[in-house]
């Protein structure tokens, strides 16, 4: 898996605002396939972690009720322009992806 994450991190004053979009099916496990009548197995992101300078800034724990192709935004302090920010996700099937971005 690669390039599932689009991210933007912008510093304003002391606050860095992070906005991320992740491409993911976010299947709840409750829907049925209209052709076969079989339940579509659950497949959703469970955890999104944001790290800055080796420190976890925020951990999102998600259930299947997060929309398809999830959007996530949050803010944190103590970063400077040009710092590297890492965002990674793991889903219930063990698939994962991560991205690094520079704070602008």
């Amino acid at each position: 898996m690669a390039n599932t994450i689009k991210i933007r991190a912008r510093l304003s004053g002391d606050t860095t605002t992070v906005k991320a979009l992740i491409s993911h099916i976010m299947e709840t496990g409750l829907r049925k396939d209209s052709k076969t009548g079989k339940t579509i197995p659950a497949h959703y992101i469970q955890e999104v972690v944001c790290e800055h300078k080796g420190e976890t800034v925020m951990t999102a724990q998600w259930g299947p009720a997060i929309s398809k192709n999830p959007y996530l935004s949050f803010r944190f302090k103590g970063a400077e322009k040009g710092d590297t920010l890492t965002l990674r996700w793991v889903d219930n099937k063990g698939e994962s992806d991560s991205i690094e971005t520079k704070i602008a």
Binding site: A60, Q61, G63, A65, Y71, L72, F74
Partner: protein
């Protein structure tokens, strides 16, 4: 007795197997903290008890939820939560009438500010509750979101 424990054990293992899908072991270490019981809970109280060990909510005017009054598409409901409460440890977003009400929880480090935004799925018209844990207390506020599945408006 022994047989019973054995049966119970294998049943539990089976359930885990299904949950993990193809049985990949990798996520288990990473997801040690993922609150499975909280996400499986079917009531708000059970979810909060499993998530933070208490369900006593205190209404707060220091939390603001931004959500549409009417969501035409229940599959994509934009929600943002902002709070001016100090020392936020976590923010949880709950859709009261969903099968499993807890949609997501955000564990905030001391450097994080009291703000998160995301998009959630809602099965029907219900309250969206934001629960902010700070200083061992659960502060909360709610907002009614009307869901018109099928997008007929109204």
């Amino acid at each position: 007795m022994k047989r019973r424990t054995l049966l119970k054990g294998s049943l539990a293992a089976g359930a885990v197997g299904i949950a993990v899908g193809s049985g990949l072991l990798a996520p288990r270490t990473v997801l040690a903290a993922w609150p499975k019981d909280a996400f499986k809970a079917t009531s708000v109280d059970d979810a909060l008890n499993a998530l933070v060990g208490q369900s006593q909510l205190e209404g707060s005017d220091k939390i603001e939820i931004k959500a549409p009054d009417i969501a035409e598409n229940g599959a994509v409901v934009p929600i943002s939560v902002e709070t001016s409460i100090d020392g936020v440890e976590s923010i949880s977003i709950i859709a009261e009438k969903n099968n499993t009400p807890l949609t997501s929880a955000y564990v905030m480090s001391p450097r994080a500010e009291g703000f998160v935004a995301t998009r959630i799925k809602m099965s029907e018209t219900s309250s969206v509750i934001a629960v902010v844990k700070a200083g061992g207390t659960l502060h909360s506020t709610g907002k009614e979101v009307k869901v018109t599945i099928g997008g007929c408006g109204g």
